[in-house]
Symmetry: C4
Subunit: 282 residues, 4 copies
Amino acid sequence: MKEYKPQAKWKSKLHEVIYEADTPSGKFFDIVLFILIIISVILVMLESIDGFDEHYHKTLLTLEWIVTIFFTLEYIARLISIKKPLKYVFSFYGIIDFLSTIPLYLSYILAGSQVLLAVRAFRLLRIFRILKLVKFMGEASQLQSALKASRTKIAVFIYVVLILSVILGTIMYIVEGDESGFTSIPKSIYWTIVTLTTVGYGDIAPQSNLGQFLATVIMILGYGIIAVPTGIVTAEFARNKHSEVEDDNGYVVHVNTQSCPNCSVEGHRDDATHCYNCGHPL
Amino acid sequence: MKEYKPQAKWKSKLHEVIYEADTPSGKFFDIVLFILIIISVILVMLESIDGFDEHYHKTLLTLEWIVTIFFTLEYIARLISIKKPLKYVFSFYGIIDFLSTIPLYLSYILAGSQVLLAVRAFRLLRIFRILKLVKFMGEASQLQSALKASRTKIAVFIYVVLILSVILGTIMYIVEGDESGFTSIPKSIYWTIVTLTTVGYGDIAPQSNLGQFLATVIMILGYGIIAVPTGIVTAEFARNKHSEVEDDNGYVVHVNTQSCPNCSVEGHRDDATHCYNCGHPL
Amino acid sequence: MKEYKPQAKWKSKLHEVIYEADTPSGKFFDIVLFILIIISVILVMLESIDGFDEHYHKTLLTLEWIVTIFFTLEYIARLISIKKPLKYVFSFYGIIDFLSTIPLYLSYILAGSQVLLAVRAFRLLRIFRILKLVKFMGEASQLQSALKASRTKIAVFIYVVLILSVILGTIMYIVEGDESGFTSIPKSIYWTIVTLTTVGYGDIAPQSNLGQFLATVIMILGYGIIAVPTGIVTAEFARNKHSEVEDDNGYVVHVNTQSCPNCSVEGHRDDATHCYNCGHPL
Amino acid sequence: MKEYKPQAKWKSKLHEVIYEADTPSGKFFDIVLFILIIISVILVMLESIDGFDEHYHKTLLTLEWIVTIFFTLEYIARLISIKKPLKYVFSFYGIIDFLSTIPLYLSYILAGSQVLLAVRAFRLLRIFRILKLVKFMGEASQLQSALKASRTKIAVFIYVVLILSVILGTIMYIVEGDESGFTSIPKSIYWTIVTLTTVGYGDIAPQSNLGQFLATVIMILGYGIIAVPTGIVTAEFARNKHSEVEDDNGYVVHVNTQSCPNCSVEGHRDDATHCYNCGHPL
């Protein structure tokens, strides 16, 4: 058996509060964090409304600073309390957390750094940790595995749809003149995808008889084509259901949201005492 | 065995007429009620048409008063004939019935009480009681249970779609200028959902090349995403079908629309003599 | 065993040509008929194009007369050659055939009889008889039975969707003013259905912030709702498939397009010598 | 056993490079070819953008010539290195390759030969050969077989939808006047298909009350109808899955992209030494 250097008491405590949602303090921290994330997202939205930003510019900026400072402190705390900070820094949530924190700092250096604000919405995914419901996690992972299993098939499907769009778009460009809005092949391809996916804005629409006839063919094609991804995903779901019934044997493992202080892996069993990934005591 | 105070004869008779649809008089009452509900809904519609309301204002108001008085009497009768009136008052149909009755009274006190008129449409759900067809009830409950079973999965799905919409909407706001209609992030998110769900009004549409390219990506995403709820519900339906076959053993229970005079619970078996919920004789 | 009065030779021959597609002359008749049906449908379309009708009015009228005369002769022949003409007259195809024949005659008596021209398109369904392919018939009947089995469920579903549309339409009418196009509740309900079904014309679109927010909710609802009919039909198809496998036992019955000269029933087995419905010799 | 005339060494080498993707040189050739195909497709797009073509006309023409010369050389090499050139010439890829090569030559002889440029997009299908992944090939063929199996059913379905569109289009033409855009029956049918498939451009939209009511009915119809192709394809996918599980017996055959130098058939097993089609040594 391997030996582990005991972590400093306060670090271990901080780790529990920040990374886990099973203790009261951990849960409280997560809820406060989630409310701040929602506020940060709403702030970004309000700033974008012209009239609103003019009237309440100072209030918005103050709130933005409060959120940014909290996010900064949280990010630093996460770095300190974990044994392998680099692993966190380059993890999915690590990158999201970093990009959500910096836009305000960057805005004093660079113009147009507001693009990063869009990243903040990803932090909303944290709700799944707070809900701490195995049920939700199970549902989400079931969705994920069904989508994963049908990934290649969907990739093949989308590639074929794209080729089809290029071909049909080129034909529509030749058939329809500039007056109908089909000014170039890329624009025609855009129209073809708008039609195939049954979105149908109507900003560009065929005017000639032949163009409208071809559009009809494309729509009926799209009608048939939309059945394919649905068929793929449904068959995958139906199969998942099946395997669930046959493999379970009445033995369902309950996992919690504790994350290993050593390697940050999550999803340990409720009765686990060591990390299943690195063996570190929990 | 518990003893029950015998209900007054006329109350018991009234209960049968109003709450049950198995006797001729009960059926007649339900049909008259349903016709009045339809009339009340049509009245609300006609009142909203400007030209029509000007010409026939008096007729419409008279009819509205007739419907309201009938609804008022019906509501009072329902309160009197049932043993536990509070249970009815706070039940789903109780609240709907109350809100459908009061708008005309309220209109003399409050302006803008017409919002409550929308509630009347809920009363149309009563048709399922009138049809009294076990088949319809079975179908409806099958739909309901399939949707219930896939509730969590659909909640997770919608939450992820909303996060995605916030992210994509923010990006589109940055990419597209104000001229295309993307005047604020909330408006951009509105556009993203219009596109993702393949509704595509076309009131807002990307004009720049990059915007149209991103729109294309969003549409193809929406194409794949629409497959997910379909897959979830279909797998649930398919499973329901299965369990139906395996559990039935040729034994199908027929229920009727009688409701218990004591606790208002419905769905008693045809051969039941006591309420399955409170034991009160039927 | 029952006795049958032998039919006149020429009548029996005529019956074979008109009602059956198994003999060369029967096949030839059916193909000629189908070509004339297609011509009759195209004629109706061409007559509706303003410029075209002005230039070629005489040609179109002549062709219309040729088609009408052929249809008239065919209808008379069908009446003569069958034993129970009334059965044919009131059958689905009998009514279609009659309504497809009379518009031109009626146009000299009544104005606006062109509505009946739309009925002609129903005659295009005859192709399934001409194709005479058991495969096609089987596929069509499989589609039909799947839709039939899910009929009640779809009826319940559509009724609930309509109630929902009335409620949401009324709310949108109250929220949005007249300027956005929500001029009355019926118009609002029209918009709600346009949105729920993801058609999205954009002729009416919410302008206020609250209206756009509600529209978003309706769209996501529609997203979930569209999964329900798909789920119903798919589960039905999947079940159909299953039963096919289990019930067939390697014994597939081949049917042909012969119809009984006595009762017009179709779908007799290839090796049948008597009608399975009335026992008349084939 | 048949005898085969040994092919010239250089021809055999050329065949390996051009037709196979298993050797390093074959892979290199395929990747270079695919990049050139992508460039050729992008060139066609750029040429269609007015401003872009004016500025960079010379550069585009030069690049077009480079691509065309490479395609020409490739086409000649394919003809030389294969034993039965005619088989290649009239194969799917042979025709695509030829049509992708000639537009530039033709443009000096004929005007409007750019229609052929749309054909080039088909060459993008070559990526499936380059990816050389059995997985992708398997997925693609699974998609293909599911679509093939549901072909007849989808054909019946589309035919019925078309008849329905003609009927509903004619009715809408009669109901709506010219002002709403329903100027002729073909235009009305175009609108009906736009609505039934839930595309909904909004370039033509009903204005009258009756027209909007009928449109609502068509939309709800389309709602139900869209479930049918999805149901068909999904049931087919689900069945495919099933057979996969039952038939495999743990024995999965791996195929590669080698093609026979004699008959061009592909999909040989990894351990094959002779073509499964003609017996020629590989």
